[in-house]
Every structure is written in structure tokens, then in C-alpha cells.
Symmetry: C2
Subunit: 445 residues, 2 copies
């Protein structure tokens, strides 16, 4: 036994997922068994709760209730989008010292890893022995080092089931359907739409990811080409759809210039009018990490729908059936759709955080690695990475803290994902629902 004796604080941070509570329960159940861990403090709303000293007693939770929480979507302790500043961290330590906190597990994505990294750095600089562990969680799947992230498999499953249904819907009532998928920096979740394909001809027929850049002309031309060929098109677009400078479309000067060039001035006026809406409500929405807020509006979907409609109307002098949906928050918090593998792995990550924290004076981020099984089955386990390699806390300027999709996963024409991606992702989402199709046998009378 090489663990220091003291209390544990566990918190959840960032966007909820279907399985982040499974990690929480993994942390708590392992901690309950550990002689070194005295009290188990659940911080309400992540580090915000630490600063408020708002702690839930996790030891006093009923075991059966706790297991139910583990199978419940969203973040049971509450979450936050708060990045502690140096001053906040000093206050966090005062509180940790006061409560003899020696273990801190922070469950979250990139921003949460960074928060944990900062806290860890200050702890080490202060010679306060604190075992800080980042437990990975993000539907965006864009954490560094790990093979994949808890939360991704379930969100990917939701996206795949959405596209499976949307494709069948689009077969029944043909037209152009565009679905906007979450994922600001990376296309992992948008790529998961490809998992919906079972039979030849199944959509999505076109996938646009933030790892590539697109012009309006390229986008509408591709839709038009597919529509002429198949009489229907299902399109998956990342909310991070970007121009060649990496700026997202709705905030891109290049896209504005192109709208002018294409004489789509009505669309330009509409974007400007939408921008003024923001002003009227106190200015553009930025979260506290300085991100422009892309989720939570349907603007990109409506924008894409408009440019496609206008293009097709001009080309064919005909109003085509174009619809667009923004898959929305359901991607991260729909109750009742999750991947079994994801749920299990999220728990493993939580358990591993405690196991490793007890093993010595280490910090870390829990990561997943796959193994080649002799029979080709999916086999995966956890390992510890240095917190600084994931949190990016010491990264040189300009080095990205998130992981984009590998080139091998994106098709050369940039409008699709490769079979290699599909094979990679399949084990993470589990078996999809039944999809029966009628045989196209004509009646002979």
C-alpha cells in the first residue's frame, strides 16, 4: 500500500454525456474499497463546487441508487464550464488542505484536463501531495493520447441511429436532407453517421468534417451531383464546418465574400440580421473558454438548407425538397440510448483513476488502448498517460490540445470517411437496430 491517507474529491466538468456517471460510480465504488481514502467528496458543478465547498457525501449514497446513477445520462453531480484562474486554484488548495484532500479526480474533456493540469501544477509547485487524475469524457472524442474517449461511443450510437432513421425517411420521401452534428474541432462524431450504412445506396451520401475546408460552391456542387445521380441525398455536416483559414462558416469572411460572389445576398442579409439578434441580447455568445457558441442554434442547418435550395432552384428552375436538422443536445444527453461498451469502459476509466492514484505519487490521465486479439475481437484496456501530455498545460504555443481525425479516416475527395474509420468505430457503438428492406420484386400480372 503506497497511497497517502486522506480525502478524495471527485467532480464532473464540461458537456454531459450518456456515460459520465458511469465513470463517477467507478471512482466512488473503488474509493469505497480503499483504506487510504477517508471521505469521498462529490463536488457539485465541478471546481465551482470545490470553491463553494459544496460537497455531496458519496459514502452515504445508497449502493443501489448509486448504480442507478451510473446508468443515468448527464452529470449527476452537476457540471460546469469554468476554467479556474491561478487565484481560483490557490483557493482550491486552501480548501483541499482544510479538508485534507489528497486525491482529486476530474472527469471531463479537453478543458477539464486543462483545469486538472493547472491545479496539478500548482499543487506540485506548492509541494502539496495531491494525486490529480483526469478521467476522460467527451462525445467529441478529441482527447490526445487515448485511442478513444468515454462518451463518444454512446453519442456515436445516437448519431448512427439518427442517420439510419433519417436515411430510411429520406428513402420514403426523397429529397435532400442535411443533418448538423456536434463537434467543434474534430469530425469524429460527424463521421459516426457513416455507421448507419448497411445496404448499398444507404446514406449519408456526403460527410463534411472540420479537418477539411469547404467553399459554398464545393458544397452545393457536391449535393447537386449526388442528387442528380440518386434522386435523394443525405448529408452529415459537422457544426465545425470551416473555410480554408479554419474559420467556421457563419463567422467566416471568406464565406461572406463567396455569398457576394455567388450573388446570394439574401443569405448574407439573413446572417447579418442574425448577428444583430446577438447584439440585442448582450453581444455574441462566448463561453468562458472563449469559444463562440455553435451548439444550441439551428442557424448553420438553415444556412446550408438555404444555399442548397437557392443553388438548385437556379440550376433546375424547380423548388426541390430540402430539409435540415440540427441533432442538438440529444446527442450528448438522450435518455436510454447508449453503447454497452462505452458504459463499461467509462466505469473502467473511473476505477482505473483510483487504482493508479493509490499506486504511488503520480498524476495522470486515464487512456484506452486496443489490443490485437488472435480472433479479431475488440479488446481494450486502460493505461496512465502523463497529465501534461493530455492537458496541454506545458505545450508550446500553437500546439493543439485536441486530436483531429487521422487522414487515413477521411476520403481523398474530403466528402466522406473511409472503411478503415468504420472498422475502427464499429466496436465502440455496439449492434445497431434491425433494418429490414423489402425485396424489389415487381408484380407480374
Amino acid at each position: 500500500m503506497s497511497g497517502i491517507t486522506g480525502n478524495l474529491v471527485v467532480g464532473q466538468s464540461g458537456g454531459p454525456t450518456a456515460v459520465i456517471n458511469s465513470s463517477l460510480v467507478g471512482v466512488v465504488t473503488k474509493a469505497l474499497d480503499a483504506a487510504e481514502i477517508t471521505n469521498i467528496y462529490g463536488a457539485r458543478n465541478g471546481v465551482e463546487g470545490v470553491l463553494r465547498e459544496d460537497f455531496v457525501d458519496m459514502r452515504k449514497q445508497h449502493p443501489r441508487e448509486l448504480e442507478d446513477v451510473g446508468e443515468t445520462v448527464s452529470a449527476g453531480l452537476g457540471s460546469c464550464r469554468f476554467k479556474p484562474k491561478v487565484e481560483d486554484c490557490k483557493n482550491i488548495f486552501k480548501i483541499f488542505e482544510k479538508h485534507n484532500v489528497r486525491y482529486f479526480v476530474y472527469i471531463g474533456g479537453n478543458d477539464s484536463a486543462l483545469s486538472a493540469g493547472i491545479i496539478n501544477k500548482i499543487a506540485r509547485d506548492s509541494n502539496y501531495e495531491l494525486r490529480v487524475f483526469h478521467c476522460p469524457k467527451t462525445i467529441d472524442n478529441d482527447l490526445l493520447v487515448t485511442d478513444h474517449c468515454p462518451g463518444y461511443g454512446s453519442a456515436a450510437r445516437f448519431v448512427a441511429q439518427s442517420f439510419m432513421g433519417n436515411d430510411l425517411d429520406n428513402r420514403a420521401l426523397p429529397g435532400i436532407k442535411i443533418d448538423v452534428v456536434m463537434g467543434r474541432n474534430a469530425g469524429w462524431l460527424t463521421a459516426a453517421s457513416a455507421l448507419a450504412r448497411i445496404n448499398p445506396g444507404d446514406g449519408p451520401h456526403m460527410i463534411c468534417v472540420p479537418e477539411r475546408s469547404y467553399t459554398i460552391k464545393e458544397f452545393v456542387t457536391q449535393v447537386d451531383k449526388l442528387y442528380r445521380a440518386n434522386k435523394r441525398v443525405l448529408v452529415a455536416v459537422s457544426e465545425g464546418l470551416a473555410d480554408e483559414d479554419g474559420n467556421v462558416w457563419l463567422q467566416s469572411e471568406k464565406i461572406r465574400a463567396e455569398l457576394q460572389e455567388l450573388n446570394m445576398l439574401d443569405v448574407l442579409n439573413w446572417i447579418d440580421a442574425a448577428g444583430k439578434l446577438e447584439d440585442a441580447a448582450g453581444g455574441p455568445k462566448l463561453d468562458s473558454f472563449g469559444h463562440a457558441q455553435l451548439s444550441g442554434t439551428g442557424m448553420l442547418a438553415d444556412f446550408l438548407s438555404a444555399v442548397v435550395k437557392i443553388h438548385l432552384y437556379r440550376e433546375h428552375n424547380k423548388k426541390e425538397r430540402v430539409r435540415a436538422d440540427t441533432l442538438g443536445y440529444a446527442q450528448r444527453s438522450f435518455a436510454g440510448v447508449y453503447s454497452e461498451v462505452d458504459l463499461k469502459e467509462a466505469r473502467m476509466a473511473g476505477e482505473a483513476a483510483i487504482n493508479v492514484a493509490l499506486s504511488g505519487d503520480l498524476d495522470g490521465s486515464i487512456c484506452f488502448q486496443r489490443h490485437n486479439s488472435p480472433h479479431g475481437n475488440y479488446v481494450c484496456d486502460t493505461f496512465r498517460a502523463n497529465l501534461e501530455d493530455v492537458s496541454g498545460v506545458n505545450f508550446p504555443k500553437g500546439m493543439k490540445q485536441y486530436r483531429p481525425m487521422e487522414d487515413r479516416f477521411i476520403t481523398d475527395d474530403k466528402f466522406g470517411v473511409t472503411d478503415e474509420y468504420v472498422e475502427w468505430a464499429k466496436p465502440l457503438i455496439g449492434k445497431l437496430p434491425v433494418k429490414g428492406m423489402l425485396q424489389d420484386i415487381k408484380v407480374v400480372s
Copy 2:
């Protein structure tokens, strides 16, 4: 045996649902057993396929495949939004005569019932013995006569699971969340959001249905009131949200006038700019039944988000966290979420259509009725209604062909649904996913 001998045509029409294929399989399997029915023609894309003589041979489908189709979302035969004119119906009869079609089952909602009604009327006027049956299907649940409609239970389940997740999400990251739910004329599907409530304090905290009218001021005042009281609000709004004249908000002169009165001119400009987008793409979108197209854009959600944000900013001089989602097509065609009861009843409806059609020279619409079981269990079976009572084909001018929610299901303050509605709806959606909550026990140190 009192059935006439001949062929059967079965078709699907209107928006897809999770269980319309179950009705199709019910029709086909019963027809396979009927000596009177020779060929079974599956019309591609409803009456459009009849006119094109585009028929799938349903006898030659593999039984196992057919059962899989029955469990697959959307409309396996393809659907349509086409309302046959008298000339079209004459052509349909020529085709029916040519193929000796004596049974016609049309699976769909209000518009499909009307189509079936028109065809039936012409058949009777022509003394052509044709047994026309409407098999009910609509996620909107707004068909006349029947207790409820196949498709509703599954869509209601999707909505309930969405709201359950959204409520947990909103608990974790508090703010104002607005979700726009399908249902142009009636609030049945929006009301289903209430089924997501399990514990005290659970959302949705506010529900707006097309059966009542709302002003912007009423809407934002209610949100503000709830937000002050609870620090978070989850709102369910029907896409059919209407002013006191029954006009939907985005097409309402009253709402435009109110925006001016409230000095929300930026919102007015944005709506106008959106209207011009439509013009640029060939004019406002109307489907072939003359409905303005409400589904398939995120405009209402963004509108509501904007007026709430502006109101709160003015009242509190603070940017509040407001998000809005449009639940979108997933409500009618998400693969893998369905209600067991709904799936079973959809099949029952299809089977009943054939059973009754074989029983004599009748037309009809298949309806559901509930029975009082001695132990309070949900017990339901089918009965035949006259087609004209459902299709509205002979209704006097001004009489509505759809069923709004009963007054007893809407709260007096018009911002909610009653417990009576919840009790009524519960058996239709089945058991919801686990929802575990942490006990709010503070650490005592």
C-alpha cells in the same frame, strides 16, 4: 366467407413513423392467409405508385425479411404527400379494374384518410365494389374517432426520452432550454414531454400547445418567472405555437406587431430576412396540401431563444444561458426507439383492416378503444369507424378533420398538461429508462 375475390393494394402515405411498417406487415400477413385475396400489391410511394403502376409483389417477400421490415422505422414501400384529384382517382380506378383490385388499404394520417375517402366515394359512385380501408398512422395523434393513433406512442416515447435527457442536462448545466416539438394542429406530441417527469422539480416546467394561444409577452414572462424561481427552465413548445387568431408565430401579423410594440426590431428584421431566403429559392414552401412547411427548419427555436434572451437581458442586464433545439425528423424516424405497445397495436390495426374488409361490403377506418379492466391495466382493441367520419370527406365547411387535445388535458394557466393527460398517455409509451439521482447529503467534516 363474404369477401369478394380479387387483388389487394396496400400503400403508405404521409410522414414516416417508427411503426407504420408494422401495420404494413399486419395487412400483408393477414392477406396471405385470406383465400379471397389473390395478389398482394405493395404500391410504391402510396397513390403515386398506383398511378405509375409501380407495385411490389408482397407475396414474394421472404417471411423473415418481412418481419424485419415490420420492426424497421419509416415506410418500407415509400411514402408520398400527394392528394389525388378527381382525374387522378379516375385513373386509379382504371388501374384497379385492370388489375382486378378489390381491396385497398391505405396506411396514413389525416391526409391519407381523406385520400382514401375520396377514392372510396368515387368507387361507390361508380358501383365498383372496392373495399377501402384507412389504417391509422400519425405521430401527431390527431385523427378523429380513435382513442389514439399508431405512431404516436413511439414518437411520444422519443420526445419523453429527449426531455428526460434534456432535463438532466439542464440540471447539470443550468439555464433556459427550449425544445420545439412536432405537431402542426394539435399538442399531443408536445404534451408527451410531460412524461419525462419522474421526481419533483423535473422539467419540462412549461408546455405550450397549439390548442391555446400565446403572446410573446406571455411567453417570456412565464419563462422569466420560472427562471427566477428555479434557476433553470426547460420548455416544450409545439411547432404549431399560435397567436389568438390561430396563426403560427412566424407567419403572424399579431406577432409582428407585438415585436414592434416590444421594440424587438432586430427580431423582426431577422424574420423578414428569413422570408427573403424563401423567395430566393422559389417562394414560400408549401406542401401539396397547402400547408406552410414548419418542420425542417430551426427558425422557431431560434426565434424563441432570441426573444427570451433579449427579454432577460433587458430585465436583468445579464446574458443568460439560453439554448433551443428543434427535435426534428428524429421524432418520426429515429431507428431503435419505439414503444412496444405501439408496435403491437400498429400491427393489430393492419390485421384488423383485412379482417373487416373480408367481412362484408364495408369501407372503414380502423380505430382503437380502451376498456376498463378490473385491475386497472391498459386494455385496448380495434373497431371499425365509417371512413367518412374519419376522412372528413363529407364534412360541412369549417368542420375540422383533426382532433385537438381535450380541455381536460391542458392546465388552466395554458402552460402545462394535466395529470389526467399523463395517466392517459403513460400506457402508450411503455417503461422509461432508469433515472437515478444522487441524494443531497452534505459532507459533515
